[in-house]
């Protein structure tokens, strides 16, 4: 199975670790890219919004789970009373059809799930990926084969089937966001592991690493002292692009009705119930759709910027062959 993730393909990652630029240099390059900076600003705003959710809710004076029977027209299928989905002084962004729950508060709280799950899942993926990749790259032949084949299987897994099944097996009492993080994390480390292994194999053959080993440093000491710093650049590049993909995955799972459980608000979930309302209440559709759009786009722009900053040549290179795990995307 030689087909690789586009991001793990040669073009995406700095091939020669020696070229990895220092942090200051990266920051300077990043600062020069206005798009990436704009993305970063949007992300900071979204993060602040997520953190300040209770505060914002108090400011508006609404509760995310409270029903408002008086804000919807019951005889008309529960369509919000008022124009643009009931936007007004009480409900800044209108209310949810049927239930009359306040959309502003639900969207703000939904940011916690989107960002939290997206970031945490990425962390799990990266940690497992580095561990497995290093072990495969440094281990003996048997270990390498075993881990590489396992990685192959992970990349070939129909992630959606597994996500649905895993989400059904785990008892309902288990906190759902944590479960989502684990499911996304455990199913999605294959790409990172591949990069790390490839990178490790390249580095191993390089002079300074070989010198360190000859100098009597143990295998794991070499890994820690010599390899990890050199892995930082490619892994960071990959990570920056994993985040938006995980956020999109969470939204997709929620959209398919297998994400977080009600009453916890989540953007994907709101969007999936909004789809039927696209004619009767377009505001209800546009809000979560717009937020997911903005969030994912902001992270992608930033990720793209980081990639260019880490290795300007990579950006113009052929992006290699396509990824395997696209199921959750299409």
């Amino acid at each position: 199975m030689t087909a690789t993730d586009p991001l793990t393909a040669p073009g995406a990652v700095a091939a020669t670790p020696a070229a990895a630029p220092g942090a200051r240099q990266v920051w300077r390059r990043l600062r020069a890219r206005r798009a990436a900076l704009a993305g970063a600003c949007v992300i900071v705003l979204l993060a602040l919004m997520a953190l300040a959710a209770p505060l914002l809710a108090a400011l508006e004076g609404q509760d995310p789970d409270a029903y408002h029977a008086d804000a919807v027209d019951s005889a008309l299928g529960g369509v919000p009373i008022g124009s643009f989905g009931g936007i007004g002084a009480d409900h800044w962004l209108g209310v949810e059809p049927g239930t009359g729950r306040d959309l502003f508060v639900r969207l703000v709280y939904g940011a916690r799930i989107s960002l939290g799950v997206g970031l945490a899942a990425t962390a799990v993926q990266v940690i497992i990926g580095i561990g497995v990749g290093l072990a495969a790259g440094l281990g003996n032949r048997l270990l390498d084969t075993l881990l590489s084949r396992t990685t192959d299987v992970m990349l070939a897994l129909p992630s959606l089937v597994f996500a649905i099944a895993l989400l059904a097996i785990v008892p309902a009492g288990f906190p759902r966001p944590v479960l989502l993080v684990l499911v996304l994390g455990l199913l999605g480390w294959g790409g990172t592991s591949r990069i790390v292994r490839a990178q490790t194999l390249t580095l191993k053959s390089l002079d300074y690493v070989a010198a360190a080993r000859l100098g009597g440093s143990g295998r794991w000491r070499v890994a820690r002292r010599e390899l990890l710093p050199s892995l930082a650049a490619p892994v960071a590049t990959y990570t920056a692009l994993l985040v938006p993909s995980n956020i999109a995955s969470e939204a997709g799972l929620s959209f398919l009705g297998i994400g977080v459980k009600p009453p916890t608000p989540s953007w994907g979930q709101m969007l999936s119930s909004a789809t039927t309302w696209y004619q009767a209440d377009p505001t209800y559709v546009l809000l979560p759709a717009g937020l997911i759009f903005v969030t994912v786009f902001a992270f992608t722009t930033l990720g793209d910027g980081i990639r260019t900053a880490l290795d300007p040549r990579a950006a113009s290179r052929v992006p290699g062959r396509a990824r395997r795990r696209k199921e959750a995307r299409a």
Partner: protein, 573 residues
């Protein structure tokens, strides 16, 4: 007795009982001068092609495999049964009438032996006469494991039914069904059942010629005894074409009008697509109906603003109740005061809104559906008003020893949009909060949910469920839920409260003996009220179904029995 889950939802969807709120049947003759979207002469005529647009394919198009209400739609055009539904609008449609049989059956004195005689001139689609042996064989097939899916009544009621394996494994047949001659059939039951004529409407009572039986493949071409026969069946019922069965004699059939020459059933469509096509009504879709797709709240919100479209909405009532069930074996629900407090605290207006608003759900305070045929007797032992009585609930909680509030878990189905789904659960959560009750939600995937709530050992204390009628009578509504002898220890149990009250059981037996259905209905109503006072359940809503039909459709009939637009009555010319 139907249950929420997969099949029920399918049938519930199929069960828009109709009163034609927005313009058709309920307004009856008055509608004629309005003419509306139908245009031209509104009297129905023979001819043309009726298109049926459905979500669910007609899989299992086999009389042995169809559940009771499921046989009331398209299959009812092909299968005739000993008795059938009265094809009338509203409450009149909740009556049972003879079909293949000359009458509703002659019961023995204690209603344990039922005798039927066939009409003259009944023929299959190939011209061979229909005999009672064909009916007996059809019923025996429904016992075969290969042909699962039918209702369990015959297994429970017929002598020897429990152990019978079906005609493939057990060639001797069932002794409790006798056919002394080609025109007579006699059923021997193990207990009195005044409701037997209702049961004889289900498709397992349709004749199946033994020589034509192809086992599990029979569904591809079931042999017709009705006005239409199957001429094409693609992809396991995804696309069916029915044409006239020339051997069907309208003189033997008072119920089916059979106006169209041809019926084209297309399924596997998305619900939104069906409603979009029906409202656009272009080409063949002008002469189209659906037998399984309701209008959603969002679609209703859109359609109600359009007069022409609104006139093409049929409204149906089907005997169904969504309710909160308690398991009094689980604390604190053993305490009647806690159950009563919850009954007072529920806010039915938000529950109604969660289920699509007042056009799609009516608040319910009785367990029995609000229809005369069930024996509906209005009562409200714990008047919560439209939006709950939190003060009274708090008072009761205090008496129960929970002055500082109470934390409980509500188990529900996690499928969005489900009647037992998260929308209703969160609505209740919000309402109970006002009475100082903290509700934790436990949402489970449909299949896991269904298994959990129906297992005596796994049953949670506080959960959402619903119950629909297999036929419009109090018996199949109350007995499975409250009869102590119907508690199933090792299988699917529907008696959620695990009520085992000899007085209730005795009354159920007494009513089952009655063959006067009106007298029986009255006593079912009284029994419902008596049980309702114990707060073992909290009835929430009775759903209402709304469906669109094409602009060329005439003679829309929707009975309270099925709540479905009756395809056997519809005309396209």
């Amino acid at each position: 007795m139907r249950q929420p889950s997969v099949i029920a939802r399918r049938v519930a969807a199929a069960s828009v009982g109709l009163v034609m709120a927005a313009g058709a049947a309920a307004c009856g003759p008055k509608d004629n001068d309005a003419k509306g979207a139908a245009g031209g002469d509104s009297a129905p005529h023979k001819g043309g092609t009726l298109t049926v647009l459905n979500t669910e394919p007609q899989e299992d198009f086999d009389p042995a495999r169809l559940y009771t209400s499921g046989g009331g739609n398209v299959p009812g055009l092909v299968f005739r049964t000993l008795t059938t539904r009265n094809r009338e609008n509203g409450a009149a449609g909740a009556k049972v009438v003879p079909d293949l049989a000359t009458d509703l059956g002659t019961p023995s004195k204690d209603a344990t032996v039922w005798t039927y005689h066939l009409k003259d001139g009944l023929k299959f689609e190939d011209g061979t006469p229909i005999t009672t042996a064909d009916i007996k064989y059809g019923i025996e097939r429904s016992f075969a494991a290969e042909l699962s899916g039918g209702a369990p009544y015959l297994r429970d009621w017929l002598i020897g039914g429990k152990d019978y394996q079906g005609p493939y494994k057990d060639k001797k047949g069932l002794d409790s069904i006798e056919t002394p001659d080609d025109k007579t059939i006699v059923f021997h039951l193990n207990k009195p059942e005044g409701d037997f004529p209702f049961l004889a409407t289900q498709t397992s009572f349709a004749p199946v010629p033994k020589a034509k039986d192809t086992g599990t493949k029979y569904e591809n071409h079931p042999y017709s005894s009705g006005p239409y026969k199957v001429v094409s069946n693609q992809n396991d019922g995804q696309h069916l074409v029915l044409e006239r069965n020339t051997y069907w004699d309208p003189k033997t059939d008072d119920e089916r009008k059979a106006y169209p020459d041809r019926i084209d059933v297309q399924s596997g469509l998305d619900g939104a697509v069906i409603n979009q096509r029906l409202s656009a009504g272009s080409g063949k879709d002008a002469a189209a109906v659906t037998t399984d797709t309701n209008l959603t709240a969002a679609e209703l919100a859109k359609i109600t603003g359009d007069k022409q479209l609104a006139a093409r909405v049929g409204t149906g009532q089907f005997g169904y109740t969504d309710y909160i069930a308690f398991n009094p074996k689980v604390k604190p629900f053993d305490n009647p005061k806690v159950r009563q407090a919850i009954a007072y605290a529920v806010d039915r207006s938000t529950v109604v809104n969660a289920l699509g608003g007042s056009s799609l759900a009516k608040p319910a305070t009785t367990f029995l559906p609000d229809q005369k045929a069930f024996g509906y007797t209005p009562y409200d032992p714990f008047p919560a008003g439209p939006s709950g009585n939190a003060a009274k609930a708090k008072e009761l909680l205090k008496e129960a020893g929970y002055a500082n509030g109470l934390t409980i878990t509500l188990t529900h189905d996690s499928s969005a949009g489900d009647e037992q789904g998260p929308e209703v659960a969160t609505a209740l959560q919000d309402a109970l909060k006002k009475a100082g009750i903290t509700v934790k939600l436990q949402g489970l995937e449909s299949s896991a949910y269904s298994e959990k709530i129906h297992g005596v050992k796994t049953e949670p204390g506080f959960f959402l469920t619903g119950w629909g009628a297999d036929w419009p009578s109090g018996g199949p509504f109350l007995a499975p839920i409250f009869d102590g002898r119907q508690i199933v220890k090792d299988g699917y149990n529907f008696n959620a409260s695990q009520l085992n009250d000899p007085a209730v059981d005795k009354e159920i037996d007494e009513i089952n003996k009655l063959t006067d259905l009106q007298a029986a209905a009255k006593r079912w109503g009284a029994l419902d009220k008596k049980i309702g006072e114990q707060a073992l359940t909290v009835p929430l809503v009775h759903p209402v179904y709304k469906r669109l039909f094409g602009k060329d459709i005439k003679n829309v009939v929707i009975s309270d029995w099925t709540g479905v637009l009756d395809v056997s009555q519809v005309a396209v010319k």
